[in-house]
Amino acid sequence: MQHVVFGLTTGGVLAAATVGFALIRQTENFLHIAHGQVLALGAYLSIILITNGGLNVFVAGLVAMVLTGILGVALGAVVFKPVADQGGNVLLFTSIGLAFVIYGAIIATFGTVLRKVPVGLGSRIEFSVTEFVLVLALAAALATLVGWMLANRARRAEHREVAGTWAGLWAARGTGLMLALITAAVLVTFVLATQSDGFGTGSHNGVDIATSELAMILMSLGAVLSLQFFLSLTRMGRWLRAAASNPSLAAVRGIPVRVVSGVVWFIGSALAAMAGVMIAVRRGGVTTPLGWENILVILSAAVLGGTGSIMGVMAAAVLLGLAMDVSALWIPTAYRLVVAFGALILVLLVRPEGLFSTRRRAEQAS
């Protein structure tokens, strides 16, 4: 029961990190391994701002996001742009190189000692099992409503040229996935509620959630939803999707590809920083391997999510988060990574385009 809360928090934070990674993967066409280090940089920046600058965690987080976002734009232009036409593998290895550079810079600047994060987890909100299920159901209903409205609005705003590609399917997929995700979470909750005799021996028998965890889940959801709105409702968002699905066509049609690329780098890096801040608060203390420790899970979530849509990536991240925390009920935690990577390898073999991908369909259609 309680594990669903853990999983949702893990998944929420992972979603924020992975969506940025997926956005860059989608528009720049490579696996941005240094994303984990960008995340770590965001975490370290916020810690410095909190401990030395005396800032509130939200303000510090926001400043860290903006700074990291700007750095991301610079990295995109200086490091990746010049090698962009050499193909995905060169970009990937450049990103590995960049990851080592940022990692070294973090060590040189902040040292290898553990940095504590002076931010508490907040007070606990307690639910009974019924209340918790009701809250989840309510959230599911609300999400469905929002998703439906979004899909309608997006469909109307869609340009004819890009409809039929993954961009066109974007909004509709998003709604469906959102619904599936929340339903799955509720189902898992029900199943676990009947099986949780041995667990949940905290101070009471219901479910509790710390305010910090609630804030993380809501902020991640908010960020991903805002991104989804941005992509489907604004002109820049349409440009971005156009550039992602067919860069040469986008350039021919007069879309400012460089500006679009800058926006992608900003959003992607800022989201990484946001995840970094949340991870720092969850951990309560960070050490320099932070970026390496996170990139593998981000990579897994992004690959599972496929290249279809932001919502698909988010669904994959949340499912992975739930799986990692809920699987502890049946599988010894020592085998957690074996299971995670085993699942990843399996998915890649069976469905290499990811769980939620429309690219193959779009390719077949074209």
């Binding site: 934070v13 060590i107 101070s203 969850r282 951990r283």
Partner: protein, 407 residues
């Protein structure tokens, strides 16, 4: 291809030719300090080095070793076994003795230092491998993980617990005392182990693991983890309002953890750690030396006194052997630290006594250093129960190890 292989070969040959430059008995006596200055043990790195530097300062202020200056050769081992091997290979030729080594490094270097006849001190390694495999060229002047495991079991027994769960990080340093605890608790004391949760470090949260480890209403939970995993685990424990007591492994007895746990009621966390002999005359000298060479009073809980003692012991052994050759020094170690002999607490007293032709028995700030001559382990490490008071570990009482629990 010749373009590459030939120069490489040439350099190898050249290296061989330059072979005999480093061998002189005139320069300073070089004492290696091979420790994790970066990586997992970096928390311990700076305080350990301070302790080592203090020893070098004391040695040099008292005439050096055999009239020569002592010099610390610092080498980072990246807190990994591979780093220890490469680090050791870098300095093995120039140093006369080695110190500072942690568990992973000691285990990795065990065969090599014996083969090199390199006197090696292990001031901070608990690994159970050394319970049986040391004694000729490697000595451990701190408690074994076996001691820690037994003492945790003893604390749990004395507190009257019946059912204990375990939450253990899968690294050598944390699993080693945990496995001893489990063995002693189940087989010697007859206690019950409920959940035994093992986890990999480096995660963003350990909520599921904590939930599982505290399930089934245990009286206490044994937590074996490094500080990095320990902080989120303790925060989770506090946030979820668990009430079972916690037995912590030595790695968690550091200031960062005490700070996180400061809001818990005193006695909730049961901790036992090797303790320094604060009352001994050696400690006063150590504290003064630390102040002088590190510019601050010594901390506690970082093996800083053990780091200090290892070099004093090595220097005294060299003095007694009138040589810095490995076999000569190694032959003197037991006669320096074990009874019988004139009890000495400082390097100056030790040297003076040796010059008078007396046999000595050195005890330093880390306490009584008596070593088993077969294994190079401490005969009776001094262990104290610690409580967290006002956000820092505070020593409550020194306790005796129950001999009946020994393995």
């Amino acid at each position: 291809m010749r373009r590459i292989f030939l120069p490489l070969l040439a350099i190898v040959v050249l290296g061989g030719v330059v072979l005999s430059c480093g061998d002189d008995d005139e320069g300073p006596v070089k004492l290696g300090f091979l420790a994790g200055l970066s990586g997992d043990y970096s928390e311990w790195g700076p305080p350990s080095q301070d302790g080592a530097e203090a020893a070098i300062g004391v040695i040099n202020d008292n005439g050096g070793i055999l009239g020569r200056d002592a010099e610390l050769v610092v080498q980072d081992n990246l807190s990994t076994p591979e780093g220890a091997v490469t680090g050791y290979n870098r300095i093995r030729e120039e140093i006369d003795a080695l110190g500072g080594v942690e568990s992973d490094g000691a285990v990795a270097l065990l065969g090599t230092v014996a083969e090199d006849e390199m006197p090696t001190m292990c001031p901070a390694c608990g690994t159970t491998v050394l319970d049986t495999e040391g004694g000729n060229y490697i000595w451990r002047i701190t408690a074994s993980d076996t001691t820690y495991g037994i003492i945790s079991a003893q604390l749990a027994r004395d507190a009257g617990y019946g059912r204990v769960n375990m939450l253990v990080q899968q690294t050598e340093g944390t699993e080693s005392p945990a496995n001893v605890f489990k063995d002693v608790w189940e087989n010697k004391i007859g206690g019950q182990i409920g959940e035994d949760v093992r986890f990999n470090p480096g995660l963003d949260s350990y909520q599921a693991q904590v939930e599982q480890a505290f399930s089934g209403d245990p009286d206490a939970v044994y937590i074996g983890a490094g500080p990095q995993a320990g902080i989120p685990i303790l925060r989770e424990y506090i946030a979820r309002g668990y009430t079972a007591a916690i037995l912590v492994s030595p790695d968690l007895q550091v200031p960062d953890i005490a700070e996180v746990a400061s809001e818990l009621p005193t006695g909730r966390i049961l901790a036992a750690q090797v303790t320094d002999d604060f009352g001994s005359p050696a400690y006063a000298e150590f504290a003064a030396a630390h102040q002088e060479y590190a510019g601050k009073p010594p901390p506690t809980g970082f093996y800083e006194t053990n780091q200090f003692d290892q070099y004093i012991v090595l220097a005294l052994a060299m003095t007694a052997a009138e040589s810095t050759d490995g076999p000569d020094v190694a032959a003197q170690i037991y006669s320096i630290v074990n009874a019988p002999g004139t009890k000495v607490y400082t390097y100056a007293d030790g040297v003076a006594a040796l010059e008078r032709g007396e046999q000595i028995d050195y005890d330093g700030p880390s306490g009584s250093i008596e070593l088993h001559t077969s294994t190079g382990n401490l005969v009776s490490p001094k262990v104290a129960v610690n409580h967290i008071v006002n956000g820092s570990y505070t020593e409550r009482e020194v306790i005796e190890l129950d001999a009946s629990l020994g393995r």
